[in-house]
Symmetry: C2
């Protein structure tokens, strides 16, 4: 199976970690958003990242791909079976995708996309405003993160989604302050210690070096 | 169980239709986004609409609530069991939520929120540009809508999500042109003929009349 995208993206990392949790093997062919391959365009008509090609099956959108993986390899489910826990797990995924990513977006744009990908200066004031907004969301998250275990009780897609975004924040010097957010920091350590996360992190170092990001 | 929001919203309608498909009874207490009740704020820390209260359980985000309902009442599942169909079903939900809603958003704002909720004139040029963009997405959808049956093979959350947005489009005179999009129009007729949809549509007429929208 092929995964199109770069692991710097929280959406791509989320899919790669879920695949690793489930023992699904992924190839990541070299990918350029500016000059995407035909396989990517066939899988992702609106150029959403990531996309996959699995034989003659193509799919885009990280949430859809994770749902596909969960049905394909139902061992180690990423959606809790119990209803309230399942609702919470999907809420944390939505928190990451629809609240945390938009909040941090202008910081990623001004501290990463503009200076590192396009070679022009970013708007640091806009980046700082975005990070302040992002920290407001983290204040909520700090209050609902358990002292032990996982966000929705059992390990779930919610943990992967939130942690994946926190990892991207580190690239733009917006990483977690453990003094301010101790519960999140301890939980993040638990997520990132998992073998699946570690295996993706090793791949990511290779991609970051190749792209001049590490 | 209480559902907070108004059925004009495609996200609220999606949740109400899924509940009806599953035979889950919902109350919809009077709701004001400008002056939300404490129960809503406790369920939805970032004021996402809709939210629910089910005994001592609170949850927001339409996708999370639908996942909760599916686990709570697993008969008539809204996620196909087969992996490729499940991936497609979630893709169509994401198409509605993350591509179609943002495309149509400026038209909803300028033809509905500004003139009908705030009593000021909207920017018709911006509305027309949004509708043109929305029709580009419909051109994609027309190409992947089957002549019979449902978007992901079996009836799913994807059908509910896309149809819910098309219904909202009708309120702003951006409804489907059946001559231009015959496959979507025939599929939309199939979705809206379902008893669950019809029961929500009857409630919606009441809400629309009370709000002076019909």
């Amino acid at each position: 199976m092929e995964l199109f995208g770069a692991l710097f993206s929280p959406f791509v990392r989320k899919v790669a970690v879920v695949a690793a949790e489930k023992g699904l093997a992924l190839d990541m062919p070299p990918f350029s958003f500016a000059d995407p391959c035909d396989d990517f365009l066939a899988a992702s008509p609106f150029r959403k990242i990531p996309a996959i090609k699995d034989g003659d099956y193509r799919l885009c959108d990280s949430t859809a791909i994770c749902a596909y993986f969960d049905a394909l390899a139902p061992d180690a489910p990423i959606y809790p079976a119990e209803a309230r826990a399942r609702g919470r797990a999907v809420w944390f995924e939505e928190l990451a995708d629809t609240i945390m990513v938009p909040a941090l977006g202008p910081a990623i744009f001004n501290r990463f996309v503009l200076p590192r990908l396009r070679g022009v200066a970013g708007d640091e004031e806009a980046a700082l405003a975005a990070i302040a907004k992002f920290n407001e969301v983290l204040t909520y998250l700090e209050g609902v993160t358990p002292a032990e275990g996982w966000l929705a009780g059992e390990f779930s897609l919610g943990d992967v989604a939130v942690a994946s975004l926190l990892r991207t924040a580190e690239y733009i010097d917006a990483g977690l302050d453990p003094a301010r957010f101790p519960a999140i920091a301890a939980w993040y350590d638990r997520v990132t210690a998992r073998p699946a996360w570690q295996s993706v992190a090793a791949m990511e170092i290779g991609q970051a070096k190749a792209a001049g990001l590490a």
